[in-house]
Subunit: 354 residues, 2 copies
C-alpha cells in the first residue's frame, strides 16, 4: 500500500466517530421522522420541529446529503428522504437499536480502550458507572446499559437462537446442560424447539440467577422438566449430562479461559456426550468481514477488557485440543444476513472422544 493510500485510509478512520454521531443525531433530533411524515422541508421547518437552529439542521444534513440518505433541492432549498425512504421499518429499527447500543456502550468507553486492554477489564464502566466488572453484569444494575444492550441483542437472538436449534442434535430424552444459561431462556427454547419425551434441561449460571430462572420455568409450565444449578464455570462444571450447550459465551474470553471451559465440560461428561456451541466467528480470510472492525473494540474496550471471536478453524482446533471431535461446524452465510451485519454466527457441534 502506498503512503498516500495509507493516509487516505487513515482519514476514513479519523472521521469515523464524527460520521457516526452526526448520523445518529439526525435520528435522535427527529429530522428523519419529520422528513418521512411530510413533504419536502426547509431547514427552518425542520428546525422548528426539532427545536434547534436552522443553521444546525443545515450542518447536520450536509453529511446525509453527501451519502444519499437524504436529498437536497438546491432551487427550492428543501430536503426530502433519499436512500432512507426505501428502508423497511424492521431494518431501520435494527440499525438504530444497534447504533444506540454503540453510542451508550462504546463511544464514551472508547476513550479508555487502551487502559481497558492493559487492565484486562473495561475501565470505562468504572469511570462512567462506578462499576467494577464486565458490561453484562453492569447491565443488570444500570438501566441505560440494560436497555440499549437488550434492545440491540433482541433483534439478533430472535432469529439466531431458532437457527441454532434447527441445526443441533438433541437426542430424545437427553439430559441437557445450558452452560451460562442466564435466567433460563435457552432451556425454554430447547423444550419449545427440540422437545421430546423425557427431555430435561438444566440451566447453569451464577447462583443469583436462580430465582429468575425458576420463575421463568414456572411461567412457561416446564418447571418439572427444567432445573437450575448455581455455580461458576471456572470452578467446575456439573456432571450427569449428555448434551452441553454453550451459547453466546465463548467469545467473552481469552484462549486460556476458553480452554478452561472446554476442559471443564470434557471432564464433567461421559465419552460420546455432545457439546453444541453458538458463537460469532471471524471469516478464515480476515479481509472478508467487518467483524474485526467491531468486535475487538467492543470486547476489549467496552464489554470485558479481553475476549473476542475467533475463526471457525480456531475453535475447531481448540475443541480437538480439549478432547472433542467436531461433528458439524457451520457459519451463517453472509448472503443470508442483512447488509448492515458485521458478524457471522457459527454453530460447532462436537462429541467427547477422550
Amino acid at each position: 500500500m502506498t503512503a498516500e493510500a495509507t493516509l487516505t485510509r487513515f482519514r476514513e478512520y479519523m472521521v469515523g466517530p464524527s460520521r457516526f454521531i452526526t448520523l445518529l443525531s439526525c435520528f435522535e433530533l427527529g429530522l428523519v421522522d419529520a422528513l418521512r411524515d411530510s413533504g419536502p422541508q426547509t431547514a427552518q421547518q425542520l428546525a422548528d420541529v426539532a427545536g434547534v437552529t436552522p443553521d444546525a439542521v443545515q450542518q447536520l444534513l450536509h453529511l446525509m446529503v453527501k451519502d444519499d440518505f437524504v436529498t437536497y433541492d438546491e432551487a427550492a432549498e428543501t430536503y426530502t428522504l433519499g436512500g432512507l425512504a426505501d428502508i423497511a421499518g424492521a431494518d431501520l429499527n435494527r440499525v438504530l437499536s444497534i447504533s444506540t447500543m454503540i453510542k451508550v456502550l462504546m463511544l464514551r468507553q472508547g476513550y479508555y480502550m487502551t487502559e481497558s486492554v492493559r487492565a484486562g477489564k473495561p475501565v470505562g464502566l468504572k469511570e462512567f458507572y462506578g462499576f467494577d466488572g464486565n458490561v453484562y453484569d453492569a447491565a443488570t444494575v444500570h438501566a441505560e446499559l440494560r436497555e440499549s444492550w437488550g434492545k440491540a441483542m433482541d433483534t439478533y437472538t430472535a432469529h439466531i437462537d431458532p437457527w441454532f436449534f434447527e441445526n443441533v442434535e438433541i437426542p430424545e430424552g437427553a439430559r441437557v446442560l445450558d452452560l451460562a444459561g442466564n435466567t433460563g431462556l435457552g432451556a425454554i427454547l430447547t423444550h419449545k424447539l427440540k422437545g421430546s419425551p423425557g427431555l430435561h434441561v438444566t440451566t447453569f449460571d451464577l447462583p443469583k440467577k436462580e430465582q429468575d430462572a425458576l420463575r421463568n420455568f414456572r411461567e412457561h409450565g416446564i418447571e418439572d422438566r427444567c432445573g437450575f444449578i448455581g455455580g461458576d464455570v471456572f470452578q467446575g462444571v456439573p456432571s450427569g449430562f449428555t448434551v452441553v450447550m454453550i451459547k453466546h459465551f465463548l467469545d467473552m474470553f481469552d484462549k486460556n479461559e476458553v480452554f478452561a471451559i472446554l476442559k471443564g465440560v470434557n471432564s464433567a461428561v461421559e465419552i460420546g456426550s455432545l457439546v453444541h456451541i453458538l458463537v460469532p466467528v471471524y471469516p478464515e480470510n480476515v479481509k472478508d468481514s467487518y467483524g474485526v472492525d467491531f468486535f475487538p473494540a467492543f470486547f476489549l474496550g467496552c464489554a470485558m477488557g479481553k475476549g473476542g471471536p475467533q475463526k471457525l478453524s480456531t475453535y475447531r482446533t481448540w475443541l480437538a485440543d480439549c478432547g472433542f471431535e467436531v461433528t458439524n461446524a457451520i457459519a451463517q452465510n453472509p448472503a443470508d444476513m442483512p447488509p448492515d451485519s458485521w458478524a457471522a454466527q457459527a454453530i460447532l457441534s462436537a462429541r467427547k472422544v477422550r
Copy 2:
C-alpha cells in the same frame, strides 16, 4: 440508492467509532513502535512489550492486517509493518496528533451531540470537565484539552498561516486589526511576513488575553509596532484601521453571528478598507469533500454547540450582503493537501464599498 446500499453504508457508520479506537489503541499501546523497531514479531513478543495479553494483541491487529497497515505471516505467526512502514514521520505525527484530538475532544462528548445541538453549547464539556462554555475557553483551563487541541492545530497553522500571508495584501504602513487575535500570534506573523515601514498591528480579543499578548510582543521585540485592545467583537469593533484580519474565527458561528461580526467590522472602517478572512470551507459540491464528515460533529457536538464552515460561495454572498466587494477568494487545492486532510482552508479578501 437501494435499501441494500443504504444499509451497507449504515454499517460503515456503525463501525466508525470501533475502527477509530482500535487503530489509535494500537499506537497508544506501542504495538506500532515495536514493529518499527524490530523485525517480525509474534503476538507474544508484542504482548511483552505492551504489557498486555497476546490474545489482545491478536484481536487488535486483525483490523490492522485487514486494512494493510500491518502484515501477518500465517506460517511464521509474525507481524510486520505493512502500509505504516512507508509513512513519513511528519505525516504520522500529524495524523496521530489529530487522532488524539478526536479522542480527547470528540469521542466522549459525542455521546451528548444531540443535547449539545439542542442547548446550543457543548454539553459534554459540562459533563466531563464541569465547564460551562466552548472548547476554546475550556482549553485555557484544562491541560488535557489544551494539549490535545494545541498539538493538532500546530500542525495545521504551521503551514496555513504562511499561506494566508502569501496571498493577502497588507499595504505599506497599514494599520491592521487582528480580530479575535488571541495572544498576538497573528500580529507577530504580520510583521514577520508582511512587514513594512509604519506597519502597525493591533490584536483585538477578550481583555484577559492582554498580558500574554503584550509579553509575546516584547519577546519578539515588536512592542512598539503592536497594540492590544480588549473587548468583545459582538459588543463593537474598534475603529481607525485600514485592514482587518479575521482568521480561524467565522467558522465558530451561525449565520446571524457571522453577519454581526461582518457588519461590526463594516461600520468600524472607512470605505476602501480591506478585510482578509481565513476560514475552512466546504466545497461547492458537498459530495467532493470529507469536511462535512467531520466539522458538523466537531462544532455542534464538541466545540461550540453551533457554527461550522460554509461554502466559499456562501461566504462571498454574506460579505456582499454586509457591504463588502470580494476582491479575491481562493481555497486550498485538495491536490496540494495531505491525503488525510478533510478541510480545505480558504482566503477571502474584500473591500468595503458601502
